[in-house]
């Protein structure tokens, strides 16, 4: 068990993989951190020494914005758009796609599960 950057406790996996459980760290950053600290790729989290864990924490604190800070940043960016009253802000407010995708069909990620339309006939064979 290792706590890095707050609540994340990935164990048993390779360091490079388990670092990705931290919000804001993906494949690229995970391997960059490993390089910097000097951890071989085969090393697993439960095989790390306390010193290595400490150094990983230091690197993340110094170089990257992760977890709560990052989430707040993203939320602030969205809030800024919404308060401005620009097109992208309006799309965020309505929960529709922001980057100009079609909404005639699809767009289910933003719109959520499909709601049945009252009075629409079902197609029967």
């Amino acid at each position: 068990m290792a706590r890095i950057a707050g609540v994340n406790i990935p164990a048993q996996k390779r360091v490079e993989i388990s670092l990705r459980y931290i919000y804001g760290i993906g494949p690229d950053r995970a391997s960059a951190i490993c390089n910097k600290v000097g951890i071989p790729t085969e090393r697993r989290v439960n095989e790390l020494t306390d010193d290595e864990i400490f150094r990983i924490r230091e690197v993340i604190d110094a170089d990257y914005k992760v977890e709560g800070d990052l989430r707040r940043d993203v939320a602030m960016n969205i809030k800024r758009l919404m308060d401005l009253g620009c097109y992208r802000g309006l799309r965020h407010r309505k929960g529709l796609p922001v980057h100009g995708q079609r909404t005639h069909t699809n767009a289910r990620t933003r719109k959520g599960p499909a709601r049945p339309i009252a009075g629409k006939k079902k197609v029967t064979k």
């Binding site: 308060d83 401005l84 009253g85 620009c86 097109y87 992208r88 339309i117 009252a118 009075g119 629409k120």
Partner: protein
């Protein structure tokens, strides 16, 4: 893809003249513009523009936060009246 920095911000040049003119005249009138594609520059802050949306001029008071956005972003071109079926389901 983002625009190259060396090109500088895009805008229709006559907007600068228009803004200067209204600044020097001192009157706070709505500047009617059709150029929705132009970038909002720092020298436009505080002025009110009427941005054409194809039908009307939507008044836009330019603030600091808007710098870097385009005029068109603040003047929606479509009106959404909701779906007919939504109304029915609400009534019943």
């Amino acid at each position: 893809m983002a625009r190259s920095v060396w090109k500088g911000p895009f805008l229709d040049g006559y907007l600068l003249k228009k803004a200067d003119k209204s600044r020097s005249s001192g009157r706070n009138e709505i500047l009617k513009i059709w150029s929705r594609r132009s970038t909002i520059l720092p020298q436009f802050v505080g002025l009110t523009f009427g941005v054409y949306n194809g039908q009307k001029f939507i008044p836009v008071l330019v603030t600091d936060n808007m710098i870097g956005h385009k005029f068109g972003e603040f003047s929606p071109t479509r009106t959404f009246y909701g779906h007919a079926s939504d109304k029915k389901s609400k009534r019943s």
